[in-house]
């Protein structure tokens, strides 16, 4: 089913966040459902910020993604 637009924005934000700061490979995500890579990277981010590791884009995780921050990645090399 097509995502409601609010979800879609959140989804795009999360995808961009994870690719910028956690090395999520670009372009791999299908729009329907969670790919393994997406889930793995969300778990990495939740572990880093000591959030509950759910592997899903829960409210807490999304709220943190929206906070002002430094542009250097949290994990992985900075090329």
């Amino acid at each position: 089913l097509p995502l409601p637009s609010g979800d879609k924005d959140n989804w795009l934000l999360a995808e961009k966040y994870l690719s910028r700061f956690y090395g999520l490979p670009a372009g791999l995500q299908g729009r329907q459902g969670v790919s393994n890579a997406f889930e793995t990277k969300i778990k990495e981010m939740q572990t880093f910020f000591k959030l509950k590791v759910t592997g899903t884009l829960d409210d807490n995780t999304l709220e943190l993604m929206e906070q002002a921050r430094c542009g250097v990645p949290d994990i992985g090399e900075y090329n």
Partner: protein, 365 residues
């Protein structure tokens, strides 16, 4: 650290400020950058020399969106700045997003704080998972000495200590919720959530969030001190009162109410009382109990006055309790008194301790 523990091979590091943000005086930017570098030179042998032309190790500039390194900024908020680890060329270079409002205070993004963080990267530090560390990736405005123990340990692992190190007082690391010796500063309810204050942090427990969330007090309430002594919720007035020293603040939800802080003596406490250890609202009697040292007081919320006949000794009216209380909260009709690493589940009606648990069992430890 970055993979490969990238660092400058020479302790004399040069920097150059290529351009300036229109948000601040040139001298303010110079000072902010110099103070940010001094944060790191104070605890390492590093010496920073300013160049006014040519290529420096650390080239500092302000730019917006795509600004020359194919690593674009994103307009206001979001990404604030970035920096590159030590190395030739772009290595060490530090860029600030000029779509942000840069300030010298807490009214917008404080340039000194962001610069100190980014220059940490330029010296070889990567991000910390400690919410109280300068190298934590999320911006928060803090006052006082900016480095935490975690930051100092990290930079000295790369460069060693400053041989002439002036005594610095680093911020303690964030408390570990499962430390068996953990004690609390204050506990209160807040619209169905439980807020637990410890040092500069608070944990937020939400019924649907089994994992407590740790946050800096000042990132939510910049004007409240870094240390909270006591807190209680009056659900009927929908306010939470937070005590620190001889002052108290009022929250409605997460918002600070105008007209605060007020002195705790406005409640009717004598001037000799300098600190409230714990506070809890008893909904049956509409009284708030305030604990100070070995005594407690009873404040009538309806009349706004302290009941006569107080203080009374805690030990006398709460049999089974230690004589001092760090924090108190009311849950499901029971009182929970916290003292050091233990918490006492107390029945206010039958006047006795029902169970003794570890303080941090409330944090799923």
């Amino acid at each position: 650290h970055f993979p490969g523990h990238l660092k400058w091979q020479n302790n004399n590091v040069t920097f150059r400020i290529l351009n300036y943000t229109p948000d601040l005086q040139k001298s303010d930017v110079d000072r902010a950058i110099r103070n940010a570098l001094n944060v790191w030179s104070a605890v390492t042998p590093l010496i920073f020399k300013k160049l006014h032309k040519g290529n420096a190790d650390i080239m500092i500039s302000f730019g917006s969106k795509e600004h020359g390194d194919y690593n674009p900024f994103d307009g206001p908020n979001g990404l604030l700045a970035h920096a590159y680890p030590p190395g030739q060329g772009i290595g060490g270079d530090t860029h600030f997003d000029d779509d942000e409002d840069w300030t010298k205070d807490s009214s917008a993004y404080n340039l000194f704080i962001v610069a100190a963080h980014e220059l940490g990267h330029a010296l070889g530090m990567s991000h910390s998972t400690d919410a109280g560390a300068l190298m934590y990736p999320i911006y928060s405005y803090t006052t006082g000495y900016p480095l935490a123990e975690d930051d100092i340990e990290g930079i000295q692992a790369l460069y060693g200590p400053n041989p002439n190190q002036r005594k610095v007082k680093p911020k303690p690391d964030a408390p570990n919720k499962c430390d068996p010796g953990l004690s609390f500063d204050a506990v209160t309810e807040l619209r169905g959530e439980t807020i637990i204050f410890k040092d500069r942090f608070y944990w937020r427990l939400h019924p649907q969030m089994p994992e407590p969330e740790q946050t800096l007090i000042k990132s939510t309430w910049p004007s409240i001190p870094n240390k909270v002594d006591a807190a209680y919720e009056n659900p009927e007035k929908d306010i939470v009162i937070i005590f620190s020293g001889i002052r108290m603040w009022a929250l409605n939800g997460y918002n600070l109410l105008d007209g605060y802080p007020k002195y705790i003596h406005k409640l009717g406490l004598p001037k000799t009382i300098k600190k409230v250890d714990a506070a809890v609202y008893i909904s049956d009697t509409r009284k708030t109990l305030l604990f100070t040292d070995e005594d407690y007081w009873s404040y009538d919320e309806a009349t706004g006055t302290m009941d006569s006949g107080y203080p009374r000794p805690i030990e006398v009216d709460f049999p089974g309790m230690d004589d001092e209380v760090d924090a108190a909260v009311s849950h499901y009709g029971y009182l929970y008194f916290f003292h050091e690493h233990l918490q006492y589940e107390y029945s206010y009606t039958s006047k006795r301790v029902l169970r003794i648990l570890r303080t941090n069992s409330i944090l799923n430890c």
